[in-house]
């Protein structure tokens, strides 16, 4: 059964100019361009019935921010990887295809600063405190140090 699924994914990946690799048994990676993500995800969800999105991970890749969608279906995990440039971190939201993605996209918005166009809750914070300074970069970028964040949030107190 899993072989059929893998073949379906490989076919879908080819149709969306994406690179499909078998990471190991039960884990497939699809590297795809931002413009093709929505089309691919829609077909993945409707044709292979891989409806369950475990979560979305953000990554700091130097020049770009990586976004990985982790789908799970029938003993197979499918990592759909895409990137957005750091100078313009905008991605397309998939909440109209997978409504359960709404909070995961909010989390990446908080942690990496990526704007998901089409996600209605981009105007609010999910995890970061209300006192987060406007000029402080998102915390999970590699250039940000925890000690600096602590100072700005007022969590470092001088002990006598």
């Amino acid at each position: 059964m899993s072989e059929v699924l893998v073949q379906q994914i490989e076919r879908l990946a080819a149709e969306h100019q994406a690179k499909c690799t078998q990471l190991r048994k039960g884990e497939t990676t699809v590297e795809i361009d931002q413009t093709q993500v929505k089309g691919f995800v829609k077909r993945l969800v409707t044709e292979t019935l891989a409806r369950h999105l475990s979560t979305i991970t953000g990554l700091d890749l130097g020049q770009n921010i990586g976004i990985i969608y982790h789908f799970w279906h029938e003993k197979n995990t499918i990592h759909v990887k895409t990137t957005v440039p750091k100078e313009k971190p905008t991605a397309l939201s998939i909440v109209d295809i997978v409504p359960g993605a709404i909070l995961y996209e909010m989390e990446i918005h908080d942690m990496f600063g990526v704007e998901f166009t089409g996600n209605p809750w981009m105007d609010r914070k999910l995890l970061l405190p209300d006192t987060w300074p406007e000029d402080l970069p998102p915390p999970l970028l590699k250039t940000v140090k925890p000690a600096d964040i602590r100072k700005r949030l007022g969590l470092e107190v001088e002990r006598k």
Binding site: P129, W132, P139, P146, I149, L153, L155
Partner: protein
């Protein structure tokens, strides 16, 4: 004279308000377990109250992150005098295993004054009861 009666009454039966300030819930479930029949902290008169305005003792668990700092201070101000604060667990004492994380304080004593630290990750119900009763002995 009235003062003596009031102190005696307070000493016999501390009313405790519990606040979870960014805790993993480990300390909270051990605190609640101390209410259950095996440990039964109520036989010593300690009672969990629903509002800080009725409490003598404030028990704080957790790392006190930037979001809960202000709420903790506000709750502390709502407690009527004389009030006491117990910091429960390693996180409340000094940040615990999360010390250095970007949204974690360095302990409850940076936000409000603390009278008693109960160490542990999480402290056993017996340790919690010992700490509360020791504090009772200190209430003058």
């Amino acid at each position: 004279m009235l003062e003596k009666v009031a102190t005696w009454a307070r000493k016999r039966s501390p009313w405790v308000f519990h606040i979870n300030a960014s805790s993993c819930n480990g300390c909270d479930i051990e605190l609640v377990a101390s209410l259950t029949p095996r440990y039964d902290i109520e036989r010593f008169g300690a009672v969990l109250v629903p509002s800080p305005r009725h409490a003598d003792v404030l028990i704080v668990t957790g790392t006190v992150n930037a979001q809960t700092k202000d709420r903790l201070r506000r709750v502390y101000e709502q407690l009527p005098e004389p009030k006491h604060v117990i910091a429960l667990g390693a996180c409340a004492a000094a940040g615990g295993v999360f010390k250095g994380c970007y949204n974690v304080g360095q302990g409850v004593q940076d936000v409000i004054p603390v009278d008693m630290f109960i160490p542990g990750c999480p402290p056993r119900p017996e340790a919690i009861m010992y700490g509360v009763l020791k504090l009772l002995g200190e209430v003058k």
